[in-house]
Symmetry: C2
Subunit: 340 residues, 2 copies
DNA sequence: CTGAAAGCGCTTACAG
DNA sequence: CTGAAAGCGCTTACAG
């Protein structure tokens, strides 16, 4: 069942049918109705590949999970962002194509090649750690790209991320307000851009409040798992004097740290306060519930869709959008004020 | 840059180039090398749409989130399944197309139409609650389909789900082994197929161990949120005698129940034991850590890929595969035996 | 308001 | 081992 058959059944030309499908105005109402009826009756559906071939426009957005997260997109942050993105870009008439990296990366192919192959109209690039160099080819290409948690410099690229500096600022500020003066930090050994921002801003905030930056209170986790946070916290516990409050750069690290502190006989938050970052579901049910910072994943995803849409449909300058994070207070960060 | 240009540059016909691209054996080695070199130098990439148009094969698998979950695929179960599926089907040479339901469902379009439009070679259908009727059109179509947590009857369909009966059996068995005899259940008011299985098997297991099925101990949650579980548990608390252990049909419901029990002054598990189902991340960090049943999402996803592949590439009978779940013991289910 | 025809970039019998 | 040509199902100037 193709456009030719419809044309024959309706006694018109394929050009006419095509115009009706695409809502051209200059078609007789009678003809339009007749053709529409036949399309309805026959259950005719146009073919995407033929349309894409003829128009060079696929109405597809390629989804790239770059770096270490490409093998696993189960992290809640990415899922929430892509979910919001999907909804919004869907409303704008685009579907999503997920490149299955496994095979083509083996064969030395790259994202740009895949994007060309499928003629996607644009790409969203969600970055984890150790992003492959092939992403920069995509960035530099004429294909519009929107990056999440990754810096993009291409002519047709923009990028979005949470204001990661503010994340640390808010935590330090809250710790300070709660009366703590000795603050520790659990960061990552091989820090991504995002993690670098958090660490830098943590140190700057200390300065701002004239708090001591004790090197013994800055420890670095091997990786992102709770067990890595556990190990890092054990290192922290070897300091001569312990910090009074600790900001772990992610919730999972925070959970690991809490476990280490408990095992060392410390009470959280009475002896040592803890805050994390991400507001994963577990924060609400942990013991104690974890104070954390919530990234506005819904806004990030939807903004990404709107900006990519603009990028695909009109000229736009490269730029970076930062989205405001939100502090979520729970029991783990305690307070000294009640004891004063 | 197209196949014609490559052919011209190499001084061969487009047919020859096409054969080289597709690894036909009957090409002179010299010619092959020359053409390959030119493709390399020019950075030529074939076009998916032209290929699909010519072959009627897209190497694309459509992903359908049916029912209430189509607006939100953030539930860990679905993410984990689709993640495993993506890896495996990627290895088999397919990419994933996510239909953006939002727009086309408004317009009264359906999954089958979208699948035809994109000429996907097959579909994976992941079902939540209240699955739309349009899914059955897909099921009945010639397009190979693999269903997750949904019954499929089409000639070219198979489906996979955890052995949900076994989930309940394992929990009841464990409760029994731990010495509990008075067992309660928190189910769902409008139960999906999966939830029906869990409830049915719960009751059957009670019989098997000659335990009492007390109607007061069977309560039903409005929806899937922890707050719904909380409400259901409050109802349970009004029973004349309380059950000694409660199986909540999902972890989130279990968390809500734990909160209700705690608020009522009960200790978990000392006064009332609780088990959930799904093994979401929060189970490890909750207070107490939650005993639960883990679905083998990795196996489900990978099996789905393998079966869909077979369905797409050869004849196969419709059938249902059940995947063994695994009990994960944590503190919340306690035990009476220590007190004996 | 409608249609004939070229073109999009591939594949595939078929002929040699 | 290689090539000429038809065909896949659309769109789009252009002519009328």
């Amino acid at each position: 069942m193709n456009i030719k058959t419809i044309a024959r059944l309706a006694g018109v030309s394929v050009a006419t049918v095509s115009k009706i499908i695409n809502n051209y105005p200059d078609i007789g109402e009678e003809t339009r109705q007749r053709v529409l009826k036949i399309m309805e009756e026959t259950g005719y559906r146009p073919s995407s590949s033929a349309k894409t071939l003829a128009t060079k426009k696929s109405n597809l957005v390629g989804v790239v999970f770059a770096g270490k997260l490409n093998v696993d997109f189960s992290h809640p942050f990415f899922v929430e962002v892509i979910n919001a993105f999907k909804k919004q870009i869907g409303l704008l008439g685009y579907d999503l194509l997920f490149f299955s990296n496994e095979k083509f990366l083996d064969q030395g192919e790259d994202y740009l090649a895949r994007s060309k192959y499928f003629q996607v109209d644009g790409c969203i690039i969600i970055a984890g750690d150790e992003v492959e160099s092939s992403v920069s080819d995509l960035d530099a290409s004429p294909i519009p790209c929107i990056g999440i948690d990754i810096e993009m410099n291409g002519q047709n690229s923009c990028y979005i991320m949470s204001d990661n500096e503010k994340i640390s600022t808010k935590v330090v500020e809250q710790f300070y307000m709660n009366g703590y003066r000795d603050l520790g930090f659990i960061g990552l050994q091989r820090a991504s851009l995002v993690m670098q921002h958090r660490e830098k801003a943590f140190k700057q905030s200390l300065k701002q409040f004239s708090l001591e930056e004790n090197p013994e209170w800055l420890v670095y986790s091997q990786d992102y798992a709770a067990t890595d946070g556990y190990e890092a916290a054990k290192q922290l516990l070897q300091a001569d004097v312990l910090p009074r409050a600790v900001f772990a750069a992610t919730d999972l690290l925070a959970f690991g740290a809490v476990r280490a502190f408990k095992e060392a006989g410390l009470r959280v938050p009475e002896d040592i306060a803890v805050a994390g970052c991400d507001d994963i579901e577990a924060c609400r049910y942990s013991d104690p519930p974890l104070t954390t910072v919530k990234q506005d994943t819904d806004k990030i995803g939807r903004l990404a869709a709107m900006i990519l849409f603009d990028l695909m449909n009109k000229q736009m300058d490269n730029r970076c959008i930062k989205v405001e994070p939100e502090l979520v207070l729970r029991r783990s960060c305690g307070t000294l004020l009640a004891y004063q």
